[in-house]
């Protein structure tokens, strides 16, 4: 998955809107200047983000003076990539920045190099995190449906006089033929307490 992400086309930075959450300071000016050179549209905020900042493509936030309650979303729930601006490397501050869900960081003072790679790394990490979250949801869903699969297998064993291995094969074939997941097919079998109408009298390729 990670390699697939790494090979995707470059970011369309010119269409990006960035929000810089930092007190007025040369550091904020340097970040804004560098982002504008990269073609982004930049808004500065302090001390709080505003509701419409949830639509930004990236938020770059101060880890030194930052505090809970500055963001219109909960810690770790940002809907876009986050980049922490770190001055003090005290663990308490880094811990706070991490709790917000930093996808990348930039060290103060800001240099002409670093901002572009931080954007790429943050965007990559955010996308990887998003995909992993979706995959975990899918897997959790499948896990909760495991009992349904067992019950559907039992129904098939009784209805068609199969042993467990053949009933499992039969379920897999039925799912494949109707282009659904095994879990969804099993759910339908359990709901109907038997084979779906479409499958009745149509033995699977398992030879039953």
């Amino acid at each position: 998955m990670v390699n697939a992400l790494a090979n995707r086309p470059p970011l369309q930075l010119a269409s990006w809107r960035a929000v810089v959450l930092h007190p007025p300071h040369a550091v904020a000016d340097a970040v804004v200047a560098q982002l504008e050179r990269l073609g982004l549209t930049v808004t500065c905020r302090w001390p709080d983000l505003q509701a419409d900042d949830a639509g930004a493509d990236v938020v770059i936030y101060d880890a030194d003076m930052g505090h809970d309650g500055q963001f219109p979303w909960g810690p770790g729930e940002a809907p876009m990539p986050l980049i922490a601006l770190i001055g003090s490397e005290a663990p308490g501050r880094i811990g706070w920045a991490l709790a917000q869900g930093a996808d990348a960081h930039l060290l103060k003072p800001i240099h002409s190099s670093g901002v572009y790679s931080a954007l790429l790394i943050a965007s990559h990490a955010f996308e990887a995190k998003r995909r992993a979250a979706i995959e975990i949801l899918t897997l959790k869903d499948r896990l909760t449906k495991r009992s349904v699969v067992v019950r559907a297998t039992l129904i098939l064993m009784q209805a068609e006089g199969l042993d467990e291995t053949l009933a499992t094969k039969r379920l897999r074939t039925l799912a494949m033929e109707s282009r659904r997941t095994i879990e969804d097919m099993a759910e339908e079998i359990v709901l109907r307490r038997g084979l779906p109408r479409s499958a009745i009298g149509r033995p699977g390729r398992s030879g039953v």
Partner: protein, 389 residues
């Protein structure tokens, strides 16, 4: 000896703002050392001080440092008190290849080739202080601090130490810098009844809290200072003078307390009276920094080139008012023997304990963490009472 060469040195201490009392003391300490060096005809150079006052405003520090380095040609800066102001000066000295002499205790988590750190870092203040305090008063502190990095980080380290001992703080509160409305803090401490209070408040907030806590102790003997003391890593004689008798009973740690001077005569106290009411760590730190700078330059045959001065400063043991100092060449932080003492009714500090040997600096608390993991801390040392004025 022929004409002495002038070496410009920059000094940045705020003479106004939330910590102006400390800034004035620090500037006085640097000035006294410069006067002593310039009066020493055996030296081939003289220091020409260029002083900048950023008035406690963070956005003025970088410009002040820039002026000193670029405008005045200073390759050595003595200065800054807070970590946030040091962070403002750091990029300037790093770009210019200059050397910043930082003489105050701080929370750690920084090293730079362009800074020498003469004050204590966390393993030389909060850690040994808790080693001393926890066995004597208990494992349940109330943590308070001014709302910035010093208070946040020292309290975080305190939480870790207490957690490693199997306990936790009974409360944690912060005051905005300069805020003196402490009634809610006093009420919270009275309600939670901690074993002691760790205060990382600074300036007027600290003074207001210590006065109000003394009042609480008079009203309710359960909060008398010998029962539930306030302990602090940043309370010095300069603060005590500002607070008055209510500071009595507060426990403090510092690398220098007034009166502990080693190898000096009474003339030191007499001379300092021209510069400040009485010297404290805030005075002696910058004073020592300027003297070490001068001795390193003398070792370099009068050359002030920062890399060479740093090299010599980190491979020499220097005498100081608080004993021999050596600066670790890797981290630029100093080996120090912190004192631990109690403020008396007359404002003097009684030394209760001193680290038996210099503590090697551990600015990222990496050795500390592994030592703690390896086993319980050594039992507390017995009292070593030594009264100093």
């Amino acid at each position: 000896m022929g004409q002495r060469r002038d070496i410009p040195i920059g000094i940045i201490y705020s003479q106004a703002g939330a910590y102006e009392a400390i800034g004035r003391t620090a500037l006085a300490g640097a000035r006294m050392a410069i006067d002593e060096i310039n009066a020493d005809d055996s030296l081939a150079f003289r220091f020409v001080p260029h002083v900048r006052d950023p008035e406690g405003q963070l956005d003025l520090y970088a410009r002040a440092a820039q002026e000193l380095v670029r405008g005045e040609g200073c390759s050595h800066l003595i200065g800054t008190i807070t970590s946030s102001s040091r962070k403002e000066v750091l990029p300037v000295v790093e770009r210019a290849g200059a050397l910043l002499w930082y003489a105050f205790p701080y929370e750690g988590y920084e090293t730079s080739d362009n800074v020498l750190y003469l004050g204590a870092t966390a393993n030389q203040h909060i850690v040994p202080m808790f080693d001393y305090v926890l066995p004597r008063f208990g494992l349940q502190p109330y943590l308070i601090g001014s709302n910035y990095i010093w208070g946040w980080e020292i309290n975080r380290i305190a939480r870790e130490i207490v957690a490693a001992a199997g306990s936790e703080p009974v409360g944690e509160s912060y005051l905005p810098l300069g805020d003196t409305d402490v009634d809610h803090l006093i009420a919270a401490v009275e309600e939670r009844r901690p074993d002691f209070v760790l205060s990382n408040l600074i300036g007027p907030s600290s003074y207001a809290f210590i006065r109000a806590y003394a009042e609480l102790g008079r009203r309710n003997p359960d909060f008398a200072p010998d029962v539930r003391p306030i302990v602090s890593c940043n309370l010095t004689e300069a603060d005590i003078d500002a607070i008055g008798p209510d500071a009595a009973g507060v426990l403090s740690t510092a690398v220098y307390f007034n009166g502990v001077e080693e190898g000096t005569t009474d003339s030191f106290q007499a001379e300092t009276s021209q510069y400040c009411r009485r010297p404290s760590q805030c005075f002696v730190g910058p004073y020592t920094a300027v003297h070490i700078l001068a001795r390193a330059i003398a070792l370099a045959d009068g050359a002030a080139e920062p890399d060479e001065v740093r090299r010599l400063a980190t491979q020499t043991v220097f005498k100081s008012l608080y004993g021999p100092i050596c600066i670790d060449p890797k981290t630029g932080h100093s080996h120090l023997r912190p004192y631990f003492g109690r403020v008396g009714a007359d404002g003097g500090i009684t030394v209760l304990h001193r680290a038996e040997t210099p503590i090697a600096p551990d600015p990222y608390l990496v050795r500390h963490a592994s030592e703690r993991a390896a086993g319980p801390a050594k039992p507390a040392q017995p009292f070593h009472l030594k009264v100093v004025r």
